[in-house]
Structure formats: structure tokens, C-alpha cells
């Protein structure tokens, strides 16, 4: 299993230089001790590390060498006792206190210098907002694009403005040698300047709960802005609703909810649509649009049995104000899709614009009732052809459709 490949594939990241193939990414890339050097400070840190390593090794070899030598030289033998020698020598004590001290002062200085570089912002850094929550990453770019991997441009300095919705996390990119905790209730910052195109591991390094070890993603360094934009932009209009929902799910929900039936921090969502969920207060509720909507916006209101007693706070944060109505609609679509994919169009189906201008050539017009949601999305036909971000009003338009659709189904 390779971590990077599926993540990259999901976002159609195929054309970035230097992305490791599944085979090579199992192999360690970099020097013996370190991953690749992909940021401006990596070199200095590696140098300091190796310097300390060699100094330590020197000391260690001397100490252990002397120890082993003494072990044999002065081992206890019949008739040979210990020989008298001085039990005190101030000059010697001072010598072996002062020499290491001098070395330590240098190590401190070198470390502090490197630390300053890592904690002081670059000029003209691009500000990327990072939101960490259990157990997802969400990166918001200056142009409003959102992604679950960090996409940055080579040689362009970056300032990550990080916040956490729940507990402590830490943003750690080994290849950049950069790390900083993300503390709820305040902003923390991380600065970096990537020097090498490629994809690198990005992990949560501060224990944050059950899914801590799953809170891994990638940082992709693109060769230029256009390449980055190509990857991060996402137009809901170009995709069937459930695909949009899938993307939102991966950005916001996948840390706690699985789609393969395994129970993570929250219930699996692949088969819940239409079933009766037992709540912790003993009652049951049918999983429908209203229930899902309520669970997303007010997660503490009703808790599913086994996920905390009624009246306690849900582990799930509220997404009130974080997801638009349209986005909740996409998520509902996705949950329905997971239950029964047959009613939904293929992933690659391009939404058929009413006034076809050739871009929708590969699309098929979905015939299933759930595809009723699509016309609303497909209204901005012109927009689907180029990279313009969706307009807000269109997004909210989309929200109405799932609802009407739901009512139809219930009736």
C-alpha cells in the first residue's frame, strides 16, 4: 500500500513532476538519516544534525573505548588488587567540563540560528489557511480554492495560518523539516519555501485522538502557479452531485467516518441511507435528508447509540457556517450514492450543458430520478468550459434540488 498514490489519484494529480510511483514511494527517498531536502532550511538542519552526530559519535567512541579498555586492562585477577591513584583532580574536572561546554555553546548557537529562520516569516509569502480537525486537513488558498492536500508552488514562500477546531494537532512535513503545533483557540504559523517539485508526506505529529495516525496527507509542490491552480480548482458544475459530495466528504468527514463499513470515531456511512438508526436515548430515527442535515449542523442534538450518551457533547464538530446548503446537498447525494450507486451517473460523467459547445461530449444524460439534481448544476453551462469558480447563487440553487427530491422519495 502506498499512501501517496490513492490520495493523488483521487484528485487527478497525475501531471506533477517528481511524484513518486507506487513502487518507488515504498523505498526511502533521501539520505540515510533524512527524507529528501525540499525546503530552504533542510540543508542547514541536516548539516547541524550531522555535525552533532559526528561530535557525539566522537565522544561516544572515546568514552566507550576507554570503558572497554579499562574493562579488560583492569579486570579483576587473582592476586592483583586495585592500584592506588588520585581520587581527585580539579584540573581534569575543569577540563572535561569546559571542553564540552564550548561545543554546547556552538550547538546552541547553530540551533537557535536555524530556528529563527524557521519561525520568522518570509517576505511576500503566500498565505494559506490551514484548518485541522479530527482527523482531516483542509487547506484554503488565497483564491478561495479548497483542498485536502497542501498544494504549493516551488520557490514561492508560504505562510501557513493554522487553526484547529478541536484539539491539538501539529503540521509536520518531514521533507521540509518544518513542524508546528496547531493550538485551538489561537492561530499558529508555519513558514516554508519549497525548493523541489514533488509530493511529500504531511502528517499530524501531535497526538490528537483515535485517528491520529490516519491524519496524514501530502504536500504537493508544483512547478508553477498554473499547474497548482489546475489541481486545486474544482467546479461543482462539472461533476455529478455525488462526486462533489465525495470530495467534500474527503475534505471534511473522512477522518472519522469510513465508507467501507469499518467503525472509526463515527459510524460508517456507506449503508446508512434509509436505515433506522438506534439513538442513544433509545428511540430510532430514519436516516433521511433531514436527519443527515441535522447531524451535520447540530451533531450533539441526537447521538447514535454507542457514540456517547444523549446530552453529552458529540465528538463531531458542528459544520454550521462551514458548509453551505448546496454542499450539504452534495453530501446527501454521496451518502445515497454509496447505498445504491446504480441510480447515479458515472464519476466521469460530465454534466450535459443545455447549450452544448463540445466540452460535454463525453457526457451521458442521466436517466435516473436522482439525476434531477443535475439540471440545477448544469445551468451555468458556459462556466463549465473554463476555470471560473462557481458563483455563490448558483451553489445555493443547487441546494434546493436535493430537498425537493427528498420529498418526492418520501412520498
Amino acid at each position: 500500500m502506498n499512501l501517496l498514490t490513492p490520495l493523488l489519484a483521487q484528485n487527478n494529480i497525475q501531471d506533477v513532476d517528481g511524484i513518486p510511483t507506487p513502487e518507488s514511494s515504498i523505498e526511502h527517498v533521501g539520505s540515510y538519516w533524512f527524507p529528501e531536502q525540499a525546503s530552504t532550511f533542510a540543508g542547514d538542519i541536516d548539516f547541524l544534525y550531522m555535525a552533532i552526530l559526528w561530535i557525539s559519535t566522537l565522544f561516544f567512541v572515546v568514552i566507550i573505548g576507554v570503558m572497554v579498555y579499562f574493562m579488560f586492562k583492569y579486570r579483576r585477577r587473582e592476586g592483583v588488587g586495585s592500584e592506588p591513584s588520585s581520587s581527585h583532580n580539579t584540573a581534569l574536572e575543569i577540563f572535561w567540563s569546559v571542553i564540552p561546554s564550548i561545543i554546547l555553546v556552538w550547538i546552541f548557537y547553530a540551533g537557535a540560528k536555524g530556528f529563527f529562520e524557521m519561525r520568522v516569516p518570509f517576505d511576500d509569502a503566500e498565505e494559506i489557511y490551514v484548518t485541522a480537525n479530527q482527523f482531516n486537513w483542509k487547506f484554503v488558498y488565497p483564491d478561495g480554492d479548497v483542498s485536502k492536500e497542501l498544494h504549493i508552488v516551488v520557490n514561492r514562500p508560504v505562510k501557513l495560518v493554522m487553526q484547529s477546531d478541536d484539539v491539538l494537532h501539529a503540521m509536520f512535513i518531514p521533507a521540509f523539516r518544518q513542524k508546528n503545533d496547531i493550538v485551538p483557540g489561537r492561530y499558529t504559523y508555519a513558514y516554508m519555501r519549497p525548493t523541489k517539485v514533488g509530493a511529500y508526506r504531511l502528517a499530524c505529529a501531535e497526538y490528537c485522538g483515535e485517528g491520529h495516525s490516519r491524519m496524514r496527507t501530502v504536500c504537493v509542490v508544483h512547478k508553477d502557479e498554473a499547474d497548482r491552480k489546475n489541481t486545486t480548482q474544482w467546479e461543482n458544475e462539472k461533476h455529478p452531485g455525488w462526486v462533489n459530495g465525495e470530495r467534500l466528504f474527503q475534505i471534511n468527514c473522512s477522518g472519522c467516518h469510513s465508507i467501507d463499513g469499518t467503525v472509526k470515531t463515527g459510524p460508517a456511512i456507506n449503508t446508512i441511507w434509509g436505515t433506522d438508526e438506534r439513538l442513544s436515548n433509545g428511540s430510532t430515527v430514519k436516516v433521511d435528508e433531514n436527519y443527515i442535515r441535522e447531524s451535520i449542523l447540530e451533531p450533539s442534538k441526537t447521538l447514535v447509540e454507542g457514540y456517547g450518551a444523549t446530552g453529552t457533547l458529540s465528538k463531531m464538530p458542528s459544520f454550521q457556517g462551514k458548509l453551505s446548503d448546496a454542499e450539504i446537498g452534495y453530501l446527501i447525494d454521496y451518502i445515497r450514492y454509496l447505498k445504491d450507486p446504480s441510480k447515479f451517473p458515472d464519476r466521469d460523467t460530465l454534466v450535459q450543458p443545455p447549450a452544448a459547445d463540445g466540452t460535454g461530449a463525453t457526457s451521458t444524460v442521466p436517466a435516473d430520478p436522482p439525476a434531477d439534481t443535475k439540471p440545477a448544476d448544469s445551468q451555468p453551462a458556459e462556466n463549465t468550459t473554463d476555470g471560473d469558480p462557481p458563483q455563490d447563487d448558483q451553489a445555493s440553487d443547487g441546494s434546493t434540488d436535493p430537498k425537493t427530491d427528498n420529498q418526492d422519495q418520501e412520498n
Partner: protein, 119 residues
């Protein structure tokens, strides 16, 4: 086992001294209270330090006479006073740190309180 010495280690404090100390403590308490009631035009921080000085003076009186530190072994005095050193260290370094990152807390938009929990 012999115990022929008769408890040379007791140092009974003279009652007059104790009462004097008590009166001084009461007067100092009244002084602190008065200071807070009458606004002498002292700035908050300054008044705070005066109040703390008075409290420390009171504490010194209690320590010296009520707690017999005046007659006690120097080592015991050292032991007790060392605690204040560590308290100052604790407060000092922690405060130094949080006052430095205060900005990043203040910038952060305050979230509303979570819904009240049912008891």
C-alpha cells in the same frame, strides 16, 4: 537511653510579642482595605504592588513570630524560602511565554460557547 537535657530546643514566644504582632497584622489589613476603598489616585498596577507589599510584610510577620522562624534553624528558613523562589520561577517563565503569544490568541475569532450540557 538518657535524656538528661531538658528540652533546650523550645523557644516559647513572649505573649506580648505575639499580641503586638497580631495588632500590627490587623492594622495592616485595615490599611489594605482602606487603600482599596479610597481611591488615592493610584494607578491600578501601582496599587496592586502596594497591596502585595503589605501582604508580604504581613506574611513576614506571621513567619517570623507566629511560626518561630526568628528562632528557628537557618536551614529550615532556607528550605521554606526556597519555595517562593520556585513559585516565582514558575510564574515568571510561564507569564513571559503567554504574554508573548497573547497576540495570536487575541486575533483569533472567539467561538460561541458550546451548548450547555444536560446535567
Amino acid at each position: 537511653m538518657s535524656h538528661d537535657h531538658d528540652g533546650g530546643f523550645a523557644h516559647p514566644a513572649p505573649p506580648k510579642l505575639l499580641i503586638t504582632v497580631f495588632i500590627a497584622l490587623v492594622l495592616l489589613t485595615i490599611l489594605t482595605l482602606a487603600m482599596s476603598s479610597i481611591d488615592l489616585g493610584l494607578m491600578g498596577a501601582f496599587g496592586f504592588w502596594i497591596a502585595m507589599s503589605i501582604a508580604s510584610f504581613k506574611a513576614a510577620l506571621v513567619l517570623l513570630f507566629f511560626m518561630h522562624m526568628y528562632w528557628d534553624k537557618p536551614f529550615n528558613v532556607l528550605v521554606f524560602l526556597s519555595s517562593s523562589l520556585f513559585v516565582i520561577l514558575f510564574i515568571g517563565l510561564t507569564l513571559m511565554d503567554s504574554s508573548h503569544y497573547k497576540n495570536s490568541v487575541d486575533e483569533y475569532p472567539r467561538q460561541p460557547d458550546p451548548p450547555a450540557l444536560s446535567p
